[in-house]
């Protein structure tokens, strides 16, 4: 089982779009895949038209494997399941504080799922908290979408700085550019300046209005419009991840 966390301190950078499309592409390779919507906003659950059961909440999530397993739902796509988010996830930080080893909690809770799934994707909330630290420990790769702007690069550097100062394994962090507009010189310059950085993936995702329309289709872009420019880019990103990055972790 490989776990991939789509994470960024910054909001609105395309974490959910990447998590939804990459998990869909993983499942298309006939590999059983789970996407865990960890953001209380529940955007990936919304994209898949799935809501958590009435009795499901953050406490159940922290109770571990069986409680989690019971609440997993099948998406409309073969081999792709989803653990929906609940609004109560906004309290996860407080609840984690009461745990003995909060940083290791998520990894432990997901252990039993390793028999069933080859890939687990986390769609993470945009902040840097104790819950984020628990996700960092659980993930094999922390995949960070970065818009080629100074502010985005700055928050990415902040994340790497946090890993170093906290003694975390920063080799887990991989970044890719998203919402790229080649016509903007700033985008081109920033991408060029990062080209030699080994933590940046080669493939980037262009800005494409079709991605925004996922909210209307309520389905992965790669499922409804596989020939869209962004869908093709997600396909190439998944190929790079599955062929070059994931086998090495």
């Amino acid at each position: 089982m490989k776990t991939i966390a789509l994470y960024s301190i910054k909001g609105g950078v395309g974490k959910t779009a990447a998590a939804v499309n990459l998990s869909y592409l993983a499942s298309r390779d006939s590999l059983s895949t789970l996407i865990c919507d960890l953001d209380p906003q529940g955007a990936s659950s919304y994209y898949f038209r799935i809501a958590a059961g009435e009795k499901y909440n953050s406490t159940k999530f922290l109770q571990g494997s069986k409680k989690i397993y019971r609440n997993i739902k099948a998406t409309d796509y073969d081999q792709l399941d989803l653990l929906p988010s609940d609004f109560s996830y906004r309290n996860l930080d407080l609840e984690l504080l009461e745990e003995k080893k909060p940083q290791k909690k998520i990894r432990k809770n997901l252990e039993e799922l390793s028999d069933e799934y080859r890939y687990i994707f986390f769609d993470c909330p945009p902040n840097l908290t104790l819950f984020s630290e628990s996700i960092f420990a659980a993930a094999d790769i922390i995949l960070v979408p970065v818009i080629p702007t100074t502010l985005s690069i700055r928050t990415y550097e902040q994340l790497k700085g946090f890993f170093e100062s906290s003694g975390l394994d920063s080799s887990k962090i991989k970044a890719f550019f998203t919402m790229v507009e080649k016509r903007k010189s700033m985008h081109r310059d920033i991408i060029e300046s990062c080209e030699s950085q080994p933590d940046f993936l080669k493939q980037s995702i262009p800005y494409n209005s079709e991605v925004e329309k996922m909210g209307l289709y309520r389905a992965p872009l790669n499922a409804v419009l596989p020939s869209a420019i962004a869908a093709k880019a997600y396909q190439r990103l998944w190929s790079e991840l599955s062929e070059a990055v994931l086998p090495a972790v």
Binding site: L31, S32, G53, Y69, R70, K73, A74, Q79, D81, R218
Partner: protein, 520 residues
Amino acid sequence: MAVLNTICFKSSEGVSTPSLPVLFQPSLSLHEELRRKERRSYYDTFEWICFEHQTAVVVKNRTISLLDLQSGLETAPLSLKACPSHFLPSTLPDGTIKNRLEFLAGIRALMKRCTIESDMVTFRILDQIEKTTGFLFAETLFLIKGNRKERIAGLITLKPLKGFQDDYVMISRKLEEHFGTESRLDVKSVFMLLMESAGVRVNDYNPKIRLALLPDNPVRISAAELLLFTHGIMKSNESGIIGSIDTEFLHEYRVALRRTRSLLSQLKGIFPPEIILRYRQAFSDIGKKCNALRDCDVYMLKKTAYFNILPPLLGFHLTPFFEELEVTRKVELKRFSDFLRSKTYRTMLDEWQTLLNDALVTPGIERESDPGQEPSINVAVKTIGKAWKKVIRHGRAIPAEASDGELHALRIDCKKLRYLLEFFSSLFPEKTIGPVVKHLKELQENLGAFVDLAVQQQALYGYIDSMKTKPANPELASALGGLIVMLHRRQEKERKAFNRTFRRFDNDETETLVTELLNR
């Protein structure tokens, strides 16, 4: 979360289902996905090992998948190049399906059991926010026999999706109301229905002796029952040998052959001496005719192991040996298949069967001097007791450093005892005979490994000898030499283990069990 099982309903409507779309309104609606024809072939091993483990192996649209016959869950499909009549699990691409089938079937081939065609339409079951909460398949199933197509049944299948139990309960209730409870089937029943329609009997082969002999029956009748059983096993395996489906056909054929010979030699007086002599000779001849073929099979099965016990560079040089072996195997297979198809062989087996059937209905003249009239249980106790004593006597006489000949002879004694225990197992309580067989098995494993290693080395020496007349191949000769050294080391390990293994067998516990068995 409990797994939601797939459920099916027999329906006369089949693929044309005018009643379905409105059945679940207004809370759920059906979205017709696509209508298509699909051919599915079902596979299993000769002894139905996948079915025994609640699994169906399905090949469709050039993919293979495993269907759980309890839940109806199907693994992700794996691409296949073709839809073969049979294949070995080891030939599949790496992955979960290969691992599972290698675990279940091992070296047995998966054979095509039947092919059906489904004329089907798929419906997505949608809730009010248009989320798919399950699938319905409406199908008309046809059996494919060559170019012919025969209608089997109409079927409605509800395939639930994880996490949508409420909808599943509601839909299954509605379907039950609509089609009737009596038409509801689980996935396994549908599988059985398909096999039955194809005229295939599931679980129709089991090489283990499961006859219930009667203790007071004349031993001639019990022997005839056992011999008819071994005769049946031989016949069942013939086509698999001729078709070269897997190596187990010949192996099981030969086990049945050895059991037959063992019965004829150990149960004296069950038939007139001239009959016994004639058939002992005939079965011994058959054994000789397939020895070379079995040897080839054994070496081919050991191919990977041989490569692995040698350093890679040396192992590589064994290739010509195996290439030659494959050619020899083809020749031997052709020769033995011709024999199995020959009139001489068929007539002999038919006459043998007639003789056994006659023995069942006319067990002979009732006179005290006729050994065939003795109650089966008496013969069982006598022969097992004798064979047991022989094993113990010979085993104890073997010195600390056992010779090849001594171990080889003891192996044969053990085999004879094992066969007797298996033949007559139904006459004794399982709790007594079971542990005796288990203890004997451990000893046999040690002796079997020892003798096999000796035979392999002998054959390799023979092969090296034959190389004298061929163009020089020093690399192959050195690889074979290396192999002999490695096999010899292993053989010596088995030799050293013998005394310890025999002591574990020849102990108070086994003796008590055997005494209990024989003094019933």
